[in-house]
Subunit: 503 residues, 2 copies
């Protein structure tokens, strides 16, 4: 049995930051146990066609006015930090029939979108006891109540544009809590090129020997004075503290006795407030598909586009004729059921990053939400993935002034004389298939209260079992810098308890 | 001496609404004393060229998700309510040299503007003791701190676009409190056509006999059991309650013994908390100039434009070279002093409503803030006013695709065959000259706390001297519906105290 000051489970950004801070504070005997054979967790930079690199996990610095990781990066010499670009120019909005409808001075969808979000906020702000409903229902309620102030086209397209929120939360509008919908941006968003630089920087800020990759933790025992952590390869560590940074989705395995990959057996079991809180939290699955072309034959004017799910030409009539809200919700709910197995990419809002605007890389990065993510990530071949999204990709290129048909060349056999866009590669994330991730990050369904889990995991002043990660913190919840913050928090807590106050 | 249940001083929207509510609740003996010979106060609809009508005072329904007056209007048959249009499509932004620079996908000024407002909010949110500074200083601080993240053009134009906030507050950026800067929009803004319909509706919802126009109140005495109100024409009213709805600017006269038009002598004097609170509040002067043309020869695409004050080509260099914030603030402060007497309309941010988009009226309505308002409203002739704004009006028309020169014809002598725009009339507000208004509405300078005055005026549970108006309420502060709300509040208070609970 090896004696350690602190055992950190998981080498994602929160685990790495915890280790880094502990080392800075004078700790000299810690271990970071990571099940995968790499560090970074849901920060993962992968190679693509030619020399391209992509972050298939998180890829933005959010909230750059308050984002501590971003501000730390800024304080460093340029050559040591990850570069980034601000890609938050106005969103291009694409409808299957109408083409671009962003910034339309008569439809003013952007203005209505803002009003809808405020409407949603007010319904909970004004009365704390109002029942949480899914975002779809809130949208219908808004349309119903404001119908005399909306044109037919506005009623038709607001719901589709509003689904843009899915690409923030990673779950679809019918699974998404209205109460937790709001994203209160604290400054601009910057796209990172790439996160591997940051991960490597933090991972190399403490002794290499602390890292144990490819090692799965199977149990955490706190019955004795020390915490005992055992791994699948038979190692046993005894420590003063353990910091558990595995994703919320994997931690949830510990709630039931069923053996599952990544499951940690806690003895005694997780506290009852933690177990309870898991009933009021969910997990999202933001997925990405990267379309790599041979060259950029489209406009570099705009950074981002959304293709809206196809709209219902009857919706304005139905909203206007409705006598009663609940019936309308029901009716529109059945109108908007989808079956993605038929390959209908126009059933989903899809978010696109036009990477060519800010880099030399002529790629489009698509972001999608569950349940589409789970479906797409299960497709075995890139051809199948492209087939699914082909109609949408075509319209995105059109909206970016590229009208030539896409030629696919996944084997890289064509010469480079083709005029139109040649699709060389399609990369698809596999987070939902990855047993150590099982999706993207925490998400809220109606009735959830993420504060419960945060307080249960991070609120204890006495426990030697500590938790860090994007699901354990309010400031930066679901974000890289939130995870990073939580690492700072736990390292400070442990240092203080153990009487280390250096730095 | 006439006995009344309630004396209401001022027939603006808050006074009228107080009377209306009291009547609804069963009061049968009230009087509304108004110094002007018309009702409406700072709601005032005036005739223009041909059959045009304009609201020279307030002219929008703000916060239409929560605006009680708007929602009341909506609940009425269309023919009984004032019509309105949503004129909140994306703002056209005009620079003297560059022309239109709104929605520029590289400058992204709109995105930066949002970030600046969030930055401003955070500086006070994170620490309640942070010293309030003027908005100009906050902008410089933002530029200084974020300069590595901004391009030269962004540094150059953000300050000018940010001055857009002046047209909300009615005072210029150097007088404007950063702490009170934020306008938290609760839903869209609707332009009203026109407010006279609403004023007349409310003014006719209580007995005509209650209204005493052209009558100035000179004193309010609360030494006895009843309140005694005396007017300049020698009438004396005795009542249970008095509701004082005169503007904050005029109420301020009561703080000093100097006789002034509109001054009310209070015996005993106004409570000391009211007197104190006046030290922490200011008053703005939003002014309007209406340019009436013979026909619309410009684009009806967009509803609103802002012409930015001319920018400083050296500012980026100065911001980047700065070693210290305070010196930079000082330097830029002296760079941005203006002297409007030289007729430099490009020294000021000016807001334009393109009335032609939503109505048949080919007019442009300009909004300006103090100190420009005071200067312009003092000009005796429309020729002088037009001369001042001519360079700017020309660029606005250009931005709206009208390149022909403007011909003036204030005497209406030209025939109608001219191709270009013929300016038939210029209307200028006179609020700063009007002794019963002295400007527009309450405003905050650095260090002000509007809550103090609101609590002092509206917080008493016992006083028989009641206050209503836009300056006495938080929800809708500075807005028509806030004034209206305050009338509802005071009528309810008095009705409850006097045991009238009908309705």
């Amino acid at each position: 049995m090896a004696g350690k000051q602190v055992v950190i489970i998981g080498a994602g950004i929160s685990g790495l930051k915890t280790a880094s801070e502990l080392y800075k504070k004078g700790f000299d005997s810690c271990v970071v146990i990571e099940a995968r054979d790499r560090v970074g967790g849901r920060l993962h930079t992968v190679p693509g066609y030619k020399n391209n690199k992509y972050d298939v996990g998180a890829s933005w610095h959010h909230d750059t006015l308050v984002n501590g990781l971003f501000l730390e990066e800024l304080s460093m010499p340029k050559e040591q930090r990850a570069s980034f670009v601000f890609d938050d120019d106005a969103l291009v909005v694409i409808d299957q029939e109408k083409g671009r409808i962003d910034q339309d001075p008569d439809m003013t969808l952007e203005v209505l979108m803002e009003e809808l979000l405020k409407y949603n906020q007010l319904q909970y702000f004004e009365d704390l006891d109002v029942k949480d409903v899914n975002f779809f229902e809130t949208i219908v309620k808004y349309l119903y109540e404001r119908r005399d102030l909306l044109t037919d086209d506005q009623i038709r397209y607001i719901p589709q544009l509003a689904r843009y929120m899915e690409s923030w939360h990673g779950i679809d509008w019918k699974s998404l809590s209205s109460k937790c919908l709001e994203i209160a941006h604290q400054g601009r968003n910057a796209f990172v090129l790439n996160y591997d630089t940051i991960v490597e920087r933090i991972a190399s800020s403490f002794p290499k020997g602390w890292l144990k990759l490819g090692t799965e933790v199977i149990s955490v025992n706190t019955e004795g004075k020390k915490v005992v952590v055992s791994t699948s390869s038979g190692e046993v560590y005894e420590s003063d503290y353990v910091v558990i940074t595995i994703p919320q989705s994997v931690l949830a395995h510990s709630l039931s006795p069923t053996p599952r990959k990544g499951r940690i057996e806690f003895t005694p079991p997780l506290a009852s407030n933690i177990q309870d809180a898991f009933q009021r939290t969910h997990y999202g699955a933001l997925g990405k598909v990267i379309f790599e072309f041979d060259k950029c034959c489209w406009s570099k004017d705009r950074s981002r586009a959304i293709t809206m799910a196809k709209s219902n030409p009857e919706i304005a009539r139905k909203v206007r004729d409705a006598q009663e809200l609940n019936q309308l919700v029901e009716k529109l709910n059945s109108d908007t059921k989808y079956n993605f197995k038929n390959g209908e990419s126009w059933d989903f809002p899809l978010f696109f990053v036009n990477l060519a605007k800010h880099t030399d890389n002529p790629s489009l990065i698509l972001l999608m939400a569950d349940p589409l993510t789970t479906y797409i990530e299960s497709l075995p071949e890139k051809e199948k993935v492209y087939d699914f999204f082909k109609p949408v990709v075509k319209e995105v290129l059109k909206a970016f002034d590229c009208f030539e048909p896409v030629v696919t060349d996944f084997e890289d056999k064509l010469d480079e004389t083709s005029e139109g866009p040649v699709l060389k590669n399609v990369l698809t994330t596999k987070w939902t298939q990855d047993p150590y991730a099982l999706g993207a990050y925490s998400a809220c369904s109606p009735g959830d209260d993420p504060m419960d889990l945060i307080l249960a995991l991070a609120g204890s002043e006495t426990s030697k079992v500590r938790f860090a990660g994007e699901h354990t913190i309010m400031d930066g919840a679901g974000c890289v810098y939130g995870a990073w913050n939580s690492g700072v928090r736990e390292a400070s807590f442990i240092a203080e308890k153990m009487g280390k106050v250096r730095s």
